[in-house]
């Protein structure tokens, strides 16, 4: 019993259980709606794993939400709720799209300039939130939501500028090829490349039929960097101190306000990077008019929640999320069940994660009442 309780108290267990419950609820909903759940999950799994191309697509689709998830998780560690990753993602993608189109530079330099600029703009965008909180005590959730809308309309304003708008399209011109972060983008369409790929059908399928890009590699590297930064550097120590107890951090001589600003700058940078990598790495390599949010940032919230704010967790949660979203579409195409079933499952997972966090709290409360930890 005690061992079970101990296992149950571990955060990972709660997360895995929540995911299991999400699938169970999915099974029930499918069965009630008259679909064969086994066939549905079969097609879901097939839609993710049956072809190298599918796996590659899942990875590509996961990349932005891993990064926005990392952005949210990072801010969480400093006690901030970065609901603004959506807006930071958008300003990152705007910057990348505009500079990708207007600048004419040699390839590696162009990529570097575009991504650096996008990251910096998004960092400032996040920093505004931190500054307003540190300076005037305005709650970050309020400013984040407002800045999300500003980003959305800024996006729509910019694509309508005459020198940027593509005629007969509700979108901007595509970025220059020199700014593409697609892997082997030139070689794979060259004659030599095509000839070589012909003899290697699996690689051909991935390279030619997907937008395989360097984004995922960057995301993995950043997961490692962020983990190291948070847990092994003095700055990370400060940020986490502020996140857990800003009064004690202040009293110990840590500058709480500057840490809040820095944390939001870094969180903004991560979300902006996601936007830049999406524009530079994935077709159609441009931004278009947004009628509503695309949820790349908001899905990051879910990813961070599932990951329990652990950077490494964000990698796996992002892949799970991306897999479900992509594989879910094959449920619809193969057995005709609406792909919204995936949203139900994701919602259920989040619900149980929120619920699961109650159990350790309850366990502690019971203990406290019992007089073990009574002050």
């Amino acid at each position: 019993m005690e061992r079970l309780a101990k296992i149950l108290r571990k955060p990972v267990t709660a997360t895995l259980l929540a995911i299991l419950f999400g699938f169970i609820v999915g099974v029930f909903v499918l069965a009630i709606a008259g679909y064969n759940p086994i066939a549905a999950f079969n097609s879901l799994l097939k839609g993710i794993f049956s072809k190298p191309k599918y796996i590659a697509t899942v990875i590509i689709q996961s990349t932005p939400i891993i990064l926005t998830g990392l952005s949210v998780a990072f801010a969480f560690k400093t006690g901030l709720f970065n609901i603004g990753s959506e807006g930071q993602y958008i300003v990152g993608s705007i910057t990348a799209a505009v500079l990708g189109y207007t600048l004419h530079l040699p390839a590696p330099l162009h990529i570097f300039v575009v991504i650096t600029a996008a990251v910096m703009v998004a960092a400032i965008y996040g920093g505004i939130v931190g500054l307003l909180k540190a300076r005037f005590g305005i709650h970050e959730v309020i400013t984040c939501i407002m800045l999300n809308w500003i980003a959305l309309y800024l996006n729509n304003y910019i694509i309508n500028l005459t020198f940027l708008k593509k005629p007969n399209a509700n979108a901007m011109y595509e970025i220059q090829h020199t700014a593409y972060t697609t892997i082997l983008s030139n070689w794979k369409t060259s004659e030599a490349g095509l000839a070589w790929l012909k003899n290697h059908p699996a690689i051909q399928e991935i390279l030619l039929r997907t937008d395989l890009n360097i984004g995922f590699i960057i995301a993995v590297i950043l997961v490692i960097i962020v983990t190291f930064f948070l847990y092994r550097t003095t700055k990370g120590f400060e940020l986490r101190s502020v996140g857990f107890n800003k009064d004690a951090a202040e009293f110990a001589g840590i500058n709480v306000k500057s840490n809040i600003i820095q944390s939001m700058i870094i969180a903004g940078a991560l979300a902006g990077l996601a936007g830049a990598l999406q524009v530079t790495g994935v077709e159609p390599h441009r931004i278009s008019s947004l009628a509503a949010f695309e949820n790349n940032g908001f899905n990051g919230l879910s990813v961070a929640l599932i990951a329990n704010s652990s950077p490494v967790g964000c990698l796996f949660a992002g892949l799970l999320f991306g897999g479900l979203l992509y594989g879910g579409s094959s449920i619809q195409s193969e057995i005709g069940a609406p792909s919204e079933i995936i949203n139900i499952m994701i919602g259920t997972i989040l619900f149980f994660i929120a619920l699961a966090n109650i159990f350790p709290i309850l366990a502690n409360k019971l203990k406290k009442r019992g007089g073990i930890n009574v002050k």
Binding site: T234, E238, N245, A248, A252, G253, G370, G371, I372, N373
Partner: protein, 514 residues
């Protein structure tokens, strides 16, 4: 002892476990009607658990409860209330923006002919009740506007209003000023005169001696003894409580003060609402002495500490350590100038509860060698440092460097803070309420640490609301009233009464003002 109606409460073989932890092990208790019965035990001894079982918050795993000689099943709190049991918790259960009357009737409203709450009748009843027992309350004020002492009286009234004959008070004096404690004692006297029975849970020995007739001692979930308070000394109670002999009074050699190292001149500080809380404040502390500031809570202690530690701005005046002015700098500069602080609120200001012991030990020095180099933390050094100091300062459990601080007991949490501040080698150690909420053993430890610091030729400034602590530990006693030091004395020159009077604002100018 037999079950008899002479006893208001009798508990037999009460056992309660949480997971594998045995909180109570076959405890029994007999509380005579019309007495004030204290339940004494250290933090975590099980006294609160026992009372929570009586009040129906928890159910015992086994055991029996008899009320007035009759066996009772107390399944929940309403069953307890129906049996005439009332409880006043250490943390009050009041609605802040309701009036006193509304709080007292909450859940027990009187309804008039047309189904509306009959506030005027309730108000009359409450005033009558409060007059009867000398429970002075202001029935129409909101809870947020009245003093903590009055809030406690509201809680007692709430219990009485529900017909409580047996009243359980959980650490009733923890939040009260000395004067309020006296009032509470006289209220308790008038209640037992009327035939009520009172049980108080506490770990403060003085209160037991002052207020109660009979005392039962519980240690680590086991019933130890029940004694008549008149027949035992404070020391005897203490040793029964902790299981070994303790020194309630610290033994220290006479002070050998050297030159002044810390000086406050003409300091004035306002609080966040702009009210002048500290003014005309002068104080100096010499090397090798402990200066204690006695005063009732709310006389400027909080603002004084915040000004010294630079959490808040001083309006005017200077704070000097080692000849350097530090007022209106920032907390880190204060620490760098060798002024370290044991803050009264250890869980809010002193520690990061979700950090490990090792991380908490370096929270002021993480950016320095050897704990980090070029911004990278060096956990090998950090853990070695933690190991060394866990041993040196006897922080328990052993090898707790990676345990989260929140899993430690209050006394051991305080040891973490003391270890951190003392290893900083401060020239002035500012200790604010350093023994708040600690049990006897831990208090002894903290006092020893302060005296050791002094014996090493360092200066110590102690601020405490516990007059005994000030009288016992300090070499020089300064009395704070209304944001000013109204008098200073050498230890032994003055008695508690005189200081108590000065603390309350009486006799200003009659003391030996310096």
């Amino acid at each position: 002892m037999d079950i008899s109606s002479e006893y208001a409460v009798q508990m037999r073989k009460i056992t309660k476990t949480f997971d594998s932890f045995i909180a109570l092990n076959a405890v029994h208790l007999d509380v005579k009607k019309g007495t004030i019965h204290a339940i004494l035990g250290e933090n975590g001894a099980g006294k609160s658990t026992l009372m929570n079982i009586l009040y129906g918050f928890f159910r015992a795993d086994s055991g029996e409860i008899y009320i007035n000689g009759l066996k009772c099943e107390i399944k929940n709190t309403s069953a307890a209330i129906a049996n005439g049991i009332g409880m006043v918790h250490q943390h009050f259960m009041l609605v802040d923006n309701f009036t006193v009357v509304e709080n007292i009737i909450l859940g027990n409203e009187v309804i008039n002919a047309i189904g509306m709450i009959d506030l005027s009748k309730a108000r009359k009843d409450i005033i009558e009740l409060s007059k009867k027992y000398g429970l002075d309350v202001d029935p129409d004020k909101k809870i947020e506007d009245i003093s903590v002492g009055m809030q406690q009286r509201v809680e007692i009234l709430k219990a009485l209003y529900r017909g409580a004959e047996i009243l359980i008070l959980d650490e009733p004096t923890a939040v009260l000023t000395p004067h309020e404690i006296d009032e509470l004692v006289s209220i308790m006297q008038s209640l037992i005169t009327d035939g009520k029975t009172i049980m108080i849970i506490t770990h403060k020995l003085k209160e037991i001696i002052a207020a109660s007739d009979i005392c039962s001692i519980i240690r680590r979930g086991v019933y130890i003894d029940t004694v008549n308070v008149d027949e035992v000394s404070e020391e005897q109670l203490a040793s029964m409580m902790v299981g070994h002999d303790v020194n309630l009074h610290i033994h220290k050699a006479p002070a050998d003060p050297k030159e002044v190292i810390f000086e406050i001149k003409d300091l004035s500080v306002t609080d966040n609402r702009g009210l002048q809380k500290v003014n005309d404040f002068f104080l100096s502390v010499r090397k090798g002495e402990i200066v204690g500031i006695a005063g009732i809570d709310g006389n400027g202690q909080k603002e004084l500490v915040e000004a010294i530690t630079c959490l808040t701005k001083s309006k005017s005046g200077t704070i000097t350590i080692n000849g350097k002015e530090i007022q209106n700098t920032n907390p880190r500069d204060v620490i760098e100038n060798k002024l370290c602080t044991i803050h009264e609120d250890r869980q809010r200001r002193g520690l990061i509860l979700d950090f490990s012991v090792a991380d908490n030990l370096i929270i002021e020095n993480y950016h320095k060698k050897p704990f980090s180099k070029h911004g990278i933390l060096k956990y090998k050094e950090i853990y070695a440092f933690a190991k060394e100091n866990i041993k040196k300062f006897d922080i328990r459990p052993e090898n707790c460097e990676t345990s989260l601080v929140k899993s430690l007991s209050g006394g051991n949490q305080q040891k973490v803070i003391i270890a951190r501040e003392i290893t900083n080698d401060p020239d002035l150690l500012l200790a604010v309420q350093p023994t708040r909420g600690l049990d006897v053993g831990a208090i002894e430890y903290v006092h020893k640490a302060l005296v050791n610091q002094r014996d090493e030729g360092k200066a110590v400034l102690l601020i405490s609301f516990e007059l005994d602590e000030i009288m016992d530990v300090s070499d020089t006693i300064a009395v704070l009233y209304d944001g000013k030091i109204v008098a200073t004395f050498k230890q032994g020159e003055v008695d508690e009464k005189t200081i108590g009077l000065l603390m309350a604002g009486g006799g200003v100018g009659h003391g030996k003002v310096s």
